[in-house]
């Protein structure tokens, strides 16, 4: 469980994370989504205490990360930037981390096998490909058998097989009751693994929701209707919770709040001919773009008010 309360990070006059509140719960994969520069990595660095918050707090299982007596047992983290000495072998790197917690050699061998690094474990990590580097980072994250796994852009640089492996790993970890927190700037990737989504833009939380809800919010329940009697159809469909829009003079209407089936039946009952009846499916990607675009507009509008 990760809890952020009014978490803020400023670098000079640039605000990277701006009063963020969220809770990441165990037993589910929570996606941390936002465009590049939204403050995802900074937030994750604050969770494990690499950066100190300018204001606000973030706790892991009720305490600040540094207050735990066995930090690697609380959170296993893979950060976006490489966090290894290139001159050290993968095995030695893991051993160095294991020693700090008194974790044995057997466990190191085990995470090496889990991440498929057996063949290269004795090679210098500096010679690793991006994908192997990611696997080593994940091996380090799993080392302490952590309650919470936090991965920053884990699929970066992985081949399709590696991407599939990560997905299976993440859902497996969540199924074991662990807290899984994964960042990405790719909505399509998140849609496949995340149960819950925290969307950020410009350092603020834009949405804290489930995948389905996000699609719904973004207009996923809109139906496009084309008819030769738009005015008649408007009269027939009008009711509580129903919104109808369309350009004057156009035969096309957009209806929200009614399923396509109800619209078709109502039109048939009143003898109104329909040429098209399409439930508009909004892809997660579109929903995400819509959200982050709004955040940009919000900031732009703010500037205008300030100027006036």
């Amino acid at each position: 469980m990760i809890e952020a309360r009014q978490l803020t990070k400023r670098y000079g006059d640039k605000t990277a994370v701006d009063g963020v509140d969220f809770t990441v719960r165990p037993g589910a994969v929570t996606g941390f989504l936002g465009p590049n520069g939204a403050g995802k990595s900074t937030t994750m660095r604050m969770i494990i205490g690499l950066d100190a918050p300018t204001a606000g707090t973030v706790t892991v299982n009720g305490r600040r990360y540094a207050e735990h007596s066995a930090p690697l047992h609380e959170v296993g983290a893979l950060l976006e930037a490489r966090s290894i000495h290139p001159g050290r072998s993968a095995f030695d790197h893991l051993m160095v981390l294991a020693h700090t917690h008194g974790i044995g050699r057997a466990r190191v061998t085990e995470v090496i096998e889990m991440t498929g690094l057996q063949a290269v474990a004795r090679k210098r990590a500096g010679a690793f490909s991006l994908g192997m580097g990611q696997r080593l980072g994940i091996a380090a994250a799993l080392l302490g058998d952590p309650q919470t796994i936090m991965l920053d852009e884990p699929v970066n640089g992985l081949d399709p097989e590696g991407v599939l492996w990560i997905r299976t790993l993440l859902t497996g970890l969540a199924a074991e009751g662990r807290t899984v927190f994964v960042s990405s700037h790719l909505m399509s990737e998140m849609a496949l693994v995340a149960d819950h989504l925290i969307v950020v833009g410009r350092g603020r939380v834009l949405a804290d929701t489930t995948v389905q809800e996000l699609v719904l919010q973004a207009g996923g329940d809109t139906v496009d209707v084309t008819t030769d009697d738009p005015a008649g159809l408007r009269r027939v469909l009008t009711g509580p919770g129903v919104e109808i829009s369309g350009r004057p003079g156009s035969e096309q209407l957009s209806v929200t709040g009614l399923p396509a089936r109800a619209i078709g039946l109502a039109a048939a009952r009143h003898g109104i001919a329909l040429f098209e009846l399409t439930a508009r499916t909004v892809s997660l990607e579109e929903a995400f773009m819509e959200l982050t675009k709004d955040s940009v507009e919000y900031h732009a509008a703010n500037t205008l008010v300030g100027a006036a």
Partner: protein, 271 residues
């Protein structure tokens, strides 16, 4: 699917465990072997060459080279201390600053988020290693040089007064240089910066003292890290220099100062 098959035994970070990790860090890098080997080589080889030079000069029947005036087996054997000091200091810097230049520091501090134990462990583990290597190198240099010089007028043996204590003092000096290297590397977070700082403090500043007014020079010079360090292992103490004990105290003061700066930055600044 069970992703984390073995339940890891109850784990906890402790000071000795962090030290164990720092020990493993040192020996898993090739640079440690190379630099430590160089430090040892400088001590023994330079001392041996100095002893051989002295012997051939003494045996030639010509007037003694003025560089060798007042030389003893002890001083000739330890001719290489200044050179090996650079190797020990540089390795200290690499040990600490290398964490930042490679990004390893993020893994290190994720495992030990209280941070300061990492600095103490690094300083203690590397300081101890530099002490042992330095003392062993000094001993070896003395044994070889005394064999070379056994037939000359400056012959000395290990049992002579103060020799063993002095050779141990060389280890103490090089150990503290190593710790100062760790502190400066950690403080500056840059390999180049840290090495410059070590070289500057131990090799350049003494030379710059000649720019000071004469009265200040005499008062300040004994307290420089290099002069204080040399008085720890000097057999004869001239009037202007500190005693071994005072030299040790002064160098410990410099070490504490560097460590305090490193600790402050480690604790306060984002990694």
């Amino acid at each position: 699917m069970s992703t984390l098959a073995t339940r890891v035994r109850p784990v906890r970070t402790t000071g000795p465990r962090v030290a164990r990790s720092e020990w493993a860090k040192l020996w898993s890098l090739r640079s440690t072997w190379i630099t430590l080997g160089l430090g040892l080589l400088f001590l023994v080889v330079v001392g041996t060459i100095a002893a051989l030079q002295y012997r051939s000069s003494a045996n030639s029947g010509q007037p003694m080279d003025p560089d060798f005036a007042g030389a003893t087996t002890y001083s000739l054997a330890l001719f290489g201390v200044t050179f090996s000091l650079i190797a020990f200091g540089v390795l200290g810097v690499l040990t600490a600053a290398g964490e930042y230049t490679t990004g390893m520091i993020r893994s290190t501090l994720a495992a030990v988020p209280k941070r300061l134990p990492v600095l103490w462990a690094k300083a203690a583990v590397y300081g101890a290693l530099a002490f042992v290597t330095g003392a062993a190198g000094a001993l070896l240099a003395f044994v070889v040089s005394s064999a070379v010089l056994s037939s000359t007028s400056v012959a000395m043996s290990l049992s002579d007064a103060g020799v063993l204590r002095g050779l141990l003092g060389v280890g103490v000096y090089l150990g503290l240089v190593g710790v100062i290297g760790v502190a400066l590397g950690s403080l500056l977070r840059s390999t180049a910066g840290g090495i410059s700082a070590v070289v500057g403090a131990f090799l350049l500043v003494p030379g710059l003292m000649s720019l000071l007014p004469k009265s200040w020079r005499a008062d300040l010079t004994p307290y420089l890290p290099s002069n204080a360090g040399e008085s720890i292992f000097a057999l004869q103490h001239s009037t202007g220099s500190l005693s071994a004990g005072a030299g040790l105290l002064v160098l410990l003061g410099w070490t504490a100062l560097a460590l305090a700066g490193a600790a402050y930055r480690l604790k306060k600044a984002d990694a």
